[in-house]
Symmetry: C2
Subunit: 332 residues, 2 copies
């Protein structure tokens, strides 16, 4: 089976669906443009793919989950717009962030508007599908709880950035909420809409959570080892912003002396020069902290894949395996 | 019947319910404190009252709609937190606004977290109640669409503030979204959860929308004629911020010469002195624009009350009439 073909066919359908939930040209035009900006800039569409493929992996059709797939991408984009304001990020997906173009007030409301559309899209899906009330309610419950977890995770992220010593467990808990909650919600609602068994829904939920955490760790690795042109964000900006990543936490727990001093000086110092950032990255690399993080994300992906054992063999199952492999190998 | 007793009994139940959706002490503590700040500062609890009383007005029990009542107050508070950031407001309900205490990043995420809880609370209500799937879906549809309308209304509000000439119809459309959408959602979902007939649901939805618009116009009147101690916000701040209100729009369309010049100079001028604000308010008063706005809100309230004719007589119906009367007479 051609995985890329399989996914790109589904992504094409998602793009159309996304367009229908935030139609270009809707008044007020400024709001619509701001809300669509990151959607139009592309992105991997990981979450909608997870929704649709999970639906198929339990025997459903991808179109049974199309509005929900769009909903999860809208939800993801809402969090990106607000996170970029909070983190003062200037670029994302190789374009300027929403608040950099339209200002913070419009960026706040553009995020809110996308969040509102999430539940409207879910409503559309649940209304259209022959689904019992309990399953319909479960879809809303899953997405609303995941949304709260994402907020909580983002708040923890901001608070951890101020903390001098962050433990690995605290960090993993934070990204589990910030990233894992949404990928779990994606696979879980896909499985519910596909009318999977309780066991299948649970397994796919676990797969989604583990995948999200692995994804975030890989993101942090790319943040120091990636290429800006592929990754879409400036390399080393996490260091300059003092963002806690598994890499930084590991390094701070093992390096000593001058290297530790250098790291502590550069991390979170907005005035760090390019060469200071480079020196810090070199320390991270030499200490084995980047490899440590890479191994961690590989372990998580391996656990995620083992969850899929409860599923019957299918193209969709194969694609879920491939998505997991992609998460730890990707360069973008 | 003692209306105040009727309402305060229900408000007491709502307060408990609100506490359970955002429990004090939840980690991360900073986020919870910020999210609870305006909730704890009080407020009229108009929207939850509308939800519960509408439920009763069609023959339901107020406890059938208790989570939904809390949800609408959470939704309202989410919009307040974000609006205050966008409008740079420093005080609300006689306390400092959330972003003034915790900073904008935490204020943004606190609003988002409350928004997420809205749908979790609705899910709880719908799950608990014996309700067909179509009605359950209608509740989510109503609230998600209203949320989007509120965002759209807030965006229009910000964009109108930049516009030189705002028409009365544009203004009314804006506040219909910004305020009317939520009050309509309150009465409508109350009626759905109370298992009202389609005709009753429609009439209560209309009542809610008209009431919300009247409420907003009264708010703008109090913004120039009220007492800060009762109203909770500095008097005249709308003028300083250049906020378009029915009063300002009316005045700009009828005053001429020096008075118009004075108004145009003071409106939206952040450096306006206290005496300039007073002079502007005097021009608004003399031109009859404040009276014009008051009459408009009275007309809307009268229309709102006439919607209630389809309901059987009950204490709840009487309370809805009294709430409508309160909206145009209130000083806070």
């Amino acid at each position: 089976m051609d995985v890329m073909k399989y996914l790109s066919e589904r992504i094409a359908v998602v793009e159309k669906e996304l367009n229908s939930w935030v139609p270009p040209g809707t008044q007020p035009a400024e709001l619509t443009k701001a809300a669509r900006h990151l959607l139009d800039a592309g992105g991997k569409r990981l979450r909608p793919c997870l929704v649709m493929v999970s639906c198929e992996a339990v025997g459903g059709k991808s179109k049974d989950a199309i509005e929900a797939a769009a909903a999860l991408e809208l939800l993801h984009n809402f969090t990106l717009i607000h996170d970029d304001i909070m983190d003062h990020d200037e670029f994302r997906r190789n374009v300027k962030t929403v608040h950099m173009i339209w200002g913070e007030p419009i960026a706040i409301i553009a995020g809110d508007a996308l969040f509102a559309k999430v539940f409207e899209a879910l409503t559309g899906n649940v209304r259209r599908l022959k689904l019992d009330k309990a399953s319909a309610v479960e879809v809303f419950d899953t997405v609303s709880k995941a949304s709260f977890e994402v907020c909580s995770g983002q708040a923890k992220d901001m608070l951890l950035a101020k903390s001098k010593s962050v433990k690995e467990a605290e960090f993993l808990d934070m990204i589990s909420g910030k990233t894992g909650a949404l990928t779990e919600a994606s696979t879980k609602i896909g499985a519910i809409l596909g009318k999977g068994t309780a066991r299948q829904v649970k397994a796919l939920a676990n797969y989604g959570r583990l995948l999200g955490v692995a994804f975030q760790i890989r993101d942090d690795v790319l943040g120091v080892t990636g290429q800006k042109s592929k990754f879409g964000k400036p390399i080393g900006s996490d260091i300059r912003e003092g963002k806690r990543t598994l890499i930084a936490i590991r390094a701070l727990s093992i390096v000593k002396g001058l290297e530790k001093k250098t790291l502590l000086r550069v991390l979170g110092n907005e005035n760090s020069s390019g060469s200071e950032i480079k020196a810090a990255i070199e320390i991270l690399r030499k200490s084995g902290s980047i490899d440590y993080a890479s191994r961690k994300s590989e372990e998580l992906v391996s656990k995620a894949k083992s969850q899929l054992n409860v599923l019957p063999d299918s193209d969709a199952k194969e694609v879920l395996v491939k998505i997991a492999d992609f998460v730890v190998k990707r360069e973008f």
